[in-house]
């Protein structure tokens, strides 16, 4: 991959990390009045996949959607304004953190029903096929979604119709506090692909180079009309399921498990990799951070100074014209 792209992936991961940290820090002031689900620790998945997507490709995400929205090129100011439930938000303050949208970059709306986005993304891929264009759809979901019927029903349909869709499972092992093995008989989500008739892979979701490589092949396969792929990216969320809570220690996730994954920080691994390659220097790191911090500052300022919806707008948008 060319140097510019390598740096772009780094910048995206860093942008996700710093925005998520800022949201985490601001949440205590109670001005972000919507449930938030942070992706700290999982940045490599969205960044590694979206680097290969065009603006007109579709992605479908979940309630934990900030990272994907950012990686796909969603407008940051509108995202933060949405978290503050302002009229200037990407969904005019009607969706909140769990329902991000930016139609300019192929984001047709994220859902907060586990597994609910899998058919929707299968549907946009069906349109690419029916209209004979090479737009690709990527659907992102967690290990919990593999419990749902929609996962199985959609994979079956996509394989049957050879649809240009990539299913990316971000397996962070936990559905709220339930471990994957408390919900599934085995740790083998990627193997469902085989029975449905598509390639399936399990990869290290914290290694952005590996994510990017598998995603590139899967997306190319879609553009060539060869059909869907399932990629299970094994990763880990650092924060609790919701809000800014920590859920590590007694009764929750084991501390040694958490510490192992923090030691596998996707950003640290990747910046070390880029430095060793001579692509990234400390100076460049600093200037990227400065640029990102000023973007974030501007986005929060925009959001905090934006108007809230007025009560007389309550009944608008129930139906489209």
């Amino acid at each position: 991959m060319e140097e510019g792209k390598l740096l772009e992936m780094y910048r995206t991961m860093r942008l996700i990390r710093l925005i998520e940290q800022r949201i985490n820090d601001e949440y205590k002031y109670d001005e972000i009045k919507t449930p938030i689900h942070l992706s700290i620790g999982q940045e490599a998945v969205a960044a590694g996949v979206c680097i290969h997507l065009r603006k007109d490709d579709y992605v479908f995400g979940t309630h934990r959607g900030h990272a994907l929205y950012i990686a796909k090129g969603g407008d940051i100011r509108k995202m933060i304004a949405e978290l503050y439930l302002r009229k200037t938000g990407c969904a005019l303050g009607r969706g909140g953190s769990m329902h991000l949208v930016d139609t300019d970059v192929g984001i047709l709306g994220f859902t907060a029903i586990v597994g609910g986005n899998i058919p929707l993304g299968t549907g946009t891929a069906l349109v690419s096929k029916l209209q004979n264009n090479d737009r690709v759809t990527v659907v992102f979901f967690g290990d919990g979604a593999a419990d749902e019927g929609t996962f199985h029903e959609s994979l079956n349909f996509a394989a049957l119709k050879k649809l240009p869709v990539v299913y990316v499972c971000e397996n962070n092992y936990y559905a709220i506090n339930s471990h994957q093995l408390a919900r599934q008989a085995d740790d083998n989500i990627y193997r469902w692909a085989e029975n449905y008739g598509m390639p399936g892979f399990r990869i290290d979701g914290n290694d952005v180079m590996m994510v990017s490589e598998y995603a590139r092949k899967a997306i190319e396969r879609c553009r060539n009309g060869a059909g869907p792929t399932l990629i299970e990216c094994v990763t880990y969320r650092w924060k609790g399921h919701i809000g800014t809570v920590e859920d590590v220690g007694e009764g929750y996730r084991p501390r040694d498990e958490y510490e192992y994954w923090v030691s596998k920080c996707p950003l640290k691994w990747y910046s070390d990799f880029l430095k060793a390659k001579g692509v990234l220097t400390d100076e460049l790191l600093q200037s990227i951070d400065e640029e990102i911090n000023s973007l974030i500052e501007e986005a929060f300022e925009f959001a905090q100074n934006s108007p809230k919806p007025s009560p007389d707008e309550l009944l608008e948008y129930v139906y489209a014209d």
Binding site: V101, L120, L126, V127, G149, N156, A320
Partner: protein
């Protein structure tokens, strides 16, 4: 011969008078077939999907031959996965196409409520109008010949509680075609509620493409003494009852709302204000039915015009029995409507 067909073929060809001018007579199912044919012809964005839509029976004849005419990309069979197929159709609608998804039984649609209720119906509001879902979900309720508890439900009342979903329930061939065209052209999810016993109903249907505004009802028969609002197939029973009522000296006005959500409040309020009595005949179970909502509307808006209590004529709150004896006791008909109307007027 399939059992439902046996039942439906036994029915009379009930003729709907005065729906429109002209002398071209079609059955309800022929009218629907024509609507699909013309919609597919006119707009390349329209496609039809559902379990068995391209088979030899063609969903009771309503989609027969369309795959041959428009190709397997535009009329195609699906896996038996109602929920995901609804989401797939919704996703296709979000990306700009106009899918028609068919459930040959309304009961099967219950499997799809996550995608219909949590997703398709909420999308416009949840994203501030940024993404529309121009989706038609067509469902058909069966009745009789032992259809039983899982092949005969009429759950339109339950679905009236879903914000963002439009619900149409045409009872005549003219309305079936016009409302199907409207539903396909609409930029929202529209539930098209159909009743198997209407498929043989006949009426005048123009050959040209036309649409009927969603949300507009019609007076099927003018009257002075009582308003009978009839939902879907119950229109046929209501019109039969109105004939008998006239013989008994009672002038019944029969209102067909055609759209259940959002329904024509004006036509209902005006009729009740005139007659002072309201009977609502619905195909579903009584509690939480479309009839309940219509009754509640009347209580809120035209209560002071009412000369007697509002009456709902619905199925009882039981699952549908399969026994032919119990089935006969379960379904209300023109005789029930007649008897209840007489009671209200003589009250």
């Amino acid at each position: 011969m399939p059992w439902t067909t046996v039942q439906v073929e036994k029915l009379d060809n009930f003729f709907i008078k005065g729906d429109t001018a002209g002398d071209r007579v079609l059955t309800y199912r022929e009218a629907l077939h024509e609507a699909f044919d013309q919609a597919l012809e006119r707009d390349p964005k329209v496609f039809i999907m559902g379990e068995g839509v391209d088979d030899i029976a063609g969903v009771f004849g309503t989609t027969k031959g369309l795959k041959e005419k428009y190709g397997p990309d535009r009329v195609f069979d699906t896996p038996i996965a109602e929920n995901s197929l609804t989401g797939i159709a919704a996703g296709a609608a979000m990306a700009g196409l106009r899918p028609v998804l068919i459930h040959a039984r309304m009961d099967f649609m219950l499997l799809s409520l996550d995608q219909l209720v949590n997703h398709a119906s909420k999308w416009c509001y949840m994203f501030g109008g940024k993404v529309n879902v121009p989706l038609v979900v067509r469902t058909i309720s069966a009745r009789g010949w032992g259809s039983g508890a899982q092949h005969s439900q009429c759950i339109q009342g339950m679905l009236m509680n879903v914000p963002g979903l439009k619900i149409v329930a045409p009872a005549t061939p003219y309305d079936a075609k016009g409302l199907m065209i409207s539903a396909i052209m609409d930029n929202n999810p529209v539930l098209f509620v159909e009743h198997r016993w209407l498929h043989k109903t006949t009426g005048h249907v123009p050959e040209e493409v036309y649409s009927i505004p969603i949300g507009r009802g019609v007076i099927r028969r003018k009257g002075e003494d009582i308003t009978i609002v009839a939902v879907s197939y119950m229109l046929v029973e209501a019109l039969k009852a109105a004939e008998k009522l006239e013989e008994a000296g009672i002038s019944a006005e029969v209102v067909d709302l055609r759209t259940l959500k959002p329904f024509d409040e004006e036509i209902l309020a005006e009729s009740v204000a005139k007659t002072g009595r309201l009977l609502i005949a619905d195909t579903g179970c009584k509690t939480g039915s479309a009839a309940s909502e219509i009754a509640a509307f009347a209580a809120e808006t035209v209560f002071h015009f009412l000369k007697s209590p509002v009456k709902r004529v619905c199925c009882p709150d039981t699952p549908t029995p399969t026994s032919d004896v119990l089935e006969k006791a379960y379904y209300p008909n023109d005789v029930d409507i007649f008897a209840e109307a007489v009671k209200l007027v003589e009250d």
